[in-house]
Amino acid sequence: MNNKKVFTEIFKNRVQAIAEEMANVVLRTGFTAFVKETGDFGTYLISKEGETFASPLDAGYNLSIGLPVKEIIALFDDWAEGDVVIFNDAYTTYGLATHLPDVYLMKPVIVDDQVVAFIMSFIHASDVGGRVPGSVSVTSYDIYQEGIRLAPVKLYKKGVLQKDIYDIFLNNCRIPEQNNGDINALMSGMYRGEERVKELIEKYGLEEFYEGVESVLSYAEDRVRNLIREFPDGKYEFWDYLDPDEDGYPIRIRCALEIKDGDVYLDFDGTDIQSRKAINMATMGQQGHYMIVPALIRYFRTIDHQIPWNSGMVRMVKNNLPSGSILNCEHPASVGARAATFIRVMDVITGALSTARPDALPAAGCGQACIISLSAVDRVSGKRKVGVIQPICGGSGARPMKDGVDGMDFAVGHMRNVPVESTEADMPVLVEHYGLRKDSYGHGRYRGGAGVELVFRNLSPDTIVSARNMERNEFQPWGRMGGTQASLALIYKNEGKEDQLQLHSLDEVRVQPGDTISFYSQGGGGYGDAFMRPASDVKRDCDNELLSVEAAKKFYGVCIKDGVVAEKETEEYRRNNAHDLPEFSFGDYRKNFEALWNDHRQLILTHALYSVPINFRGYVGNMLRKKIEEKVRKGEEVNASDVQQMISEINAGAALQQ
């Protein structure tokens, strides 16, 4: 038998292999484009206590560390060989499923009549019914519009398919054959995993197996705690926003990140209430939840590539997610398009971590990933069809030691684009331009990554264009340590033509043959003092035409004449034009918004709203904001009791009963 330290490494490799093997079985046999192209599925080994002890890194979706499984395990007291439980509901799965397209399966591994572990998997089904094809629409305002809901139920009992249950599920989907194909793929992957775990137990014995599970979990935990101890103990506050909703107010996500003796506490007190849009996260307030922690674990893995990829990584993470907030919504809030919020949570935690360790974390990336899609009449069949033109991301934030990545951000690093040649073969469009966007990134000693431009001409009547999950049209990606904020997104219909129209979102825009849509996405924020950037690097960006000569002068003080850096002039300009180097550069929109809505007033408002019955909060909130603004404009400050008074007035006016 091997020494314990040696066994840990061997066991880690064995269980990681099983998780990857399962994922590859799913990848090979999975049916829909979601499996093949976006890799939106996962396969996991779960301890009998509910911790994930292996999770794939190579295939599938990688950021699901922190899955809350314990409660689901406890739901059944008769787990038997051959059982498979299915579920997708966001409100009856204790924070495990967070939107309906993610269909989960779970089965026990049974040795000598004992449950020794679980195998779990999920797949993003392309459709689970509901109001719109694909089931996800940001405009759905309750979960009943988003598809069929399955609370955990046995799909297989002792190996026997419960056909009645399965039929109910499939009959509520628009693409039952495809979903059946994907579920079969998951089943194949899970059978393989079960077989392998049993082999492992046969090889090492049950006691060694349990020891191995605990050793890989605590190995991950130890390594993360070591990294956390590199942070000074303290409390680090940060917030960021999602774009204003239809009422004209942005949604704030606020986090106080506390580090103490190797533990992390994420307090989201002060985060705004849940939205009427489908951007809510149904975390059910679970600790170290997988929709909350990705920015943390991504940082840990950046610093230490050896950390085993399991939920030991979040054992030390505790969080407070106020019930009824956008990060812990209450039934029946809609949740389909939660990805937009999830990306902003990453920005917030990255910002808070950066406050503690400015030398280790990047500036903000583009902070969004939208899918530009088309509903158009197919020229061959004459029927309407829906297709993706292109997923559009933007640049990543500059790092403390290097530039950001052009055209791609880490938050959505797994996404793949569509070849233009395939887009034109599939959909009635002519793509005129697809590439990087000049002068879009934030400047600094290290610059952000460049944003993306896409211009296409529609060729078919009554085509509907939409861009799901588009964000950061108002709040710019922030710069860090003197680096500047990046540009905002811009959208035009018929840019450069007589009837040019600037659009502020792309929820649903109708276009006719010959109309063009131009889409310009954000770059990433800059890092450090732009005057410290070597002139040669600035010149290279100019040579590559990602930076204009004017911007080189304005932001970097680099004077380029006839393609050559004027050294002396540059030096002089840099010397004579001292400039501010703020810790964070957020841009004008946020500055203007916070001039009135500072942290104090936002906190008072948010806290007060939680005392209002949940279904009145939207209405009361809007009225309150107007009253507070009125008061502030008169030069008066507001306090908590003022606000309670205002709420009483609003209630009386609207005859709302508390």
């Binding site: 990681q16 049916f31 130890d222 990545v405 590559n544």
Partner: protein, 683 residues
């Protein structure tokens, strides 16, 4: 001249450390030899090898087939040592190399970077032209101002150009025109155009292979010219042939035009060599395991080697079909170390060939996997390269002792731990890879070669459930053997991207006929260099999918059903059902690509190894440490075994360029072709 002249074939493989030569005649392998590679002038090692052949009495004019493989192309790409290259694209698509397919290599590394394009943005020129998806000209090509831009490129030191216009796979007219223009006016540029290199829809991938071709092309062209001059001056009469990534061969002249097709030729040759061995002993299902100093590679053979159109070379996806070879982990030079939690790790850092493991006494100080082999007793002092490469067990033990102290182990147990972790690492990559390819390793034999393959092969096999292991007679020169026994082979593609019911009567046949006649012309052209062919054949396949899906299946179709849509659908559907278990009889199907492979089977002799040692009756024993205990192992020179006689492990079989370690659970024997076959005993 004498009658044996008709049949001398020379295979050469230029590797990082050694250049291998293998000479075969009608009756089998005549000799193999290794000579140090000369990285600065790779052709020099070939010349040195030829000189050595002469010394051994070989008349070079007797050689009529000379096939050679080199890592020059792949190294030029990976080390980014190609020439300064420019790219011409359709207006509006300057960033085709920057945008790639988006996905980041490592999505959870905040300090990670995307691949740096081979052509910086400033050398990407947009040409005013546009072809539509149907192949119609929407915008005629306008070359105003091109001259000034090209002059500027020349002034900046650009030596090569790639051209990739949108939808050029459908209508190459603009690419052809601009190529002619540049060749005529600026012959100094090495130029490649996408419609000639690989006319498949998907602009990033097509552009990339075109750019790679130009980027490495200049250097490869020079290299082949030097090589041909050098070989001719040595008196070699045979024309020079080059191995290809698809396992086939082509003339050096063609390779200089399309070097992108040779990128993976090194590993491909090894797999072709392995395929020949598998055919020789009549086994269809084989997994090859090629382990050297820095990495361990595997490939799957089902009668013929598995191919992939999703190979990655360095940072780049290459869509031209190539034998599917994947690295699964560490080599013999991989370093063992402890992380700061005290957990034992092996690799990814490697001592490589230089300085190499501590036991080689060439400056290595960190314990490597090979040092663990030495400490377990697998290798003795004068065992390798006839004693020319001395082994220093005490130094290996001292290096392991440092780790052992920290883990509170003794040296043998430390060595065992290193080997176990290395095996677990390989397992962790091997098993998911098999799942991805739909391969159940228990149905396969493992064919181990390379310097360390025969040492670690049995241990890996045991772990992944493989019960039969083959170690060929020439495990150190299998790539050269694969070269010497390769066929002419070229792949062709045409993107149709159409629903099956949109194909007119005779349309598919027409496409296939065109590709086949391109193939026929190619084979005729290549064979004119003097290669003797036994036969010419063609393979046809379609990339098919249900309408709206984002992935295709490759469906092989026989010659007689090109116009039988029902039969084609049936073949697709059968394959689909096997893979996905789903029936979709009513759904519409589309054909994305049509593929034809042209194969010219070369005339080859027998694959037989002559042995120079007489069989021995008894062998010495050595005490080794394995599976946590001391055991007595048989030690025998591999060519001294009696043919067909079964022996019992544990054993260590020694050879010129490798060591074969056979664990106790295995029986082994030497077959009539001098392969060592190991079989796990039934429990």
């Amino acid at each position: 001249m004498s009658e044996h002249k008709e049949q001398l074939r020379l295979g050469v493989d230029i590797g990082g450390t050694f250049t291998d030569l293998l000479l075969a005649d009608r009756d089998g392998v005549v000799l193999t030899l290794k000579t140090p590679s000369v990285p600065k002038a790779p052709e020099q090692a070939v010349i040195n090898g030829l000189t050595e052949l002469k010394k051994r009495g070989i008349d070079l004019t007797d050689i009529n087939v000379f096939i050679h493989g080199t890592t020059l192309a792949v190294n030029t790409l990976i080390e980014r040592k190609g020439c300064r290259t420019a790219l011409l694209v359709t207006k509006g698509f300057r960033d085709v190399l920057e945008m790639r397919r988006m996905r980041l290599e490592n999505t959870i590394d905040l300090y990670g970077d995307k691949v740096l394009p081979l052509v910086p943005r400033q050398y990407v020129l947009e040409i005013d032209e546009r072809i539509t998806v149907d192949g119609d000209i929407l915008q005629e090509m306008n070359l105003d101002g091109l001259d000034a831009q090209l002059e500027k490129l020349i002034a900046d030191g650009v030596e090569a150009i790639g051209v990739a216009f949108l939808h050029a796979y459908k209508n190459p007219v603009h690419e052809k025109k601009i190529k002619e223009y540049i060749q005529q006016k600026y012959p100094q540029f090495y130029i490649s155009v996408s419609s000639e290199i690989w006319p498949q829809q998907k602009e990033y991938e097509r552009t990339l292979v075109t750019v790679i071709n130009s980027y490495i092309g200049r250097k490869m062209k020079d290299y082949f010219e030097h090589l041909i001059v050098g070989c001719t001056s040595m008196g070699l009469k045979a024309s020079v042939l080059s191995t290809m990534s698809n396992g086939g061969i082509m003339t050096a002249e063609s390779a200089a035009q399309e070097p992108v097709r040779t990128l993976l030729s090194g590993p491909a040759s090894g797999v072709i060599g392995a395929t020949r061995i598998a055919q020789q002993i009549g086994i269809d299902k084989v997994i090859t395991f090629d382990m050297g100093g820095t990495s361990a590679d595997i490939a799957v053979i089902n009668k013929t080697a598995n191919y992939s159109t999703e190979n990655k070379i360095g940072d780049f996806p290459v869509i031209i079909p190539a034998i599917d070879v994947t690295a699964i982990g560490a080599g013999g030079g991989s370093i063992a170390w402890l992380d700061d939690s005290g957990i034992l790790k092996v690799g990814p850092q490697s001592a490589g060939a230089d300085p190499g493991p501590v036991a080689y006494h060439r400056g290595g100080t960190e314990p490597a996997l090979t040092d663990a082999y030495v400490c377990l007793g697998f290798m003795s002092k004068f065992q390798l390269l006839d004693g020319e490469m001395e082994i220093f067990p005490d130094e290996a033990a001292a290096a392991l002792q440092k780790l052992a102290d920290k883990l509170d182990l003794d040296v043998p147990e430390m060595a065992q731990s290193i080997v176990d972790v290395a095996t677990a690492n390989m397992y962790a990559n091997f098993i998911p890879l098999m799942a991805k390819n739909g391969v159940d390793p228990r149905e396969y034999a493992l064919l181990a070669f390379g310097g360390a393959g025969p040492v670690h092969g049995f241990m890996l096999a045991r772990e992944v459930g493989i019960r039969k292991i083959i170690v060929p007679a020439t495990p150190g020169t299998l790539c050269a053997l694969g070269s010497a026994f390769a066929d002419l082979k070229q792949d062709y593609v045409f993107t149709t991207y159409k629903r099956m019911d949109e194909f007119a009567e005779g349309e598919l046949t027409q496409v296939i006929d065109r590709l086949r006649s391109e193939g026929a012309a190619w084979i005729e052209h290549e064979a004119a260099s003097g290669i003797e062919l036994v036969s010419t054949s063609y393979e046809y396949s379609l990339d098919m999918r249900f309408v709206g899906q984002a992935f295709e299946l490759k469906v092989m179709i026989p010659e007689d059903i090109f116009e039988d849509k029902e039969a084609i659908f049936e073949r697709f559907h059968t394959l689909y059902k096997t893979l996905f278990g789903v029936e979709m009889k009513d759904a519409m199907v589309e054909i994305i690509n049509v593929r034809v492979t042209a194969i010219g089977e070369t005339k080859k002799g027998a694959l037989r190894i002559r042995r120079d040692a007489a069989p021995q009756k008894s062998f010495e024993k050595r005490r080794i440490y394995f599976d946590h205990k001391y055991q007595e192992a048989t030690v025998a020179p591999r060519f001294s075994l009696e043919i067909g006689k079964r022996y019992t492990g544990p054993a260590i079989l020694t050879a010129y360029d490798t060591t074969i370690f056979i664990p106790p659970e295995f029986d082994y024997y030497c077959d009539e072709h001098m392969n060592i076959i190991g079989e796990m005993r039934d429990e």
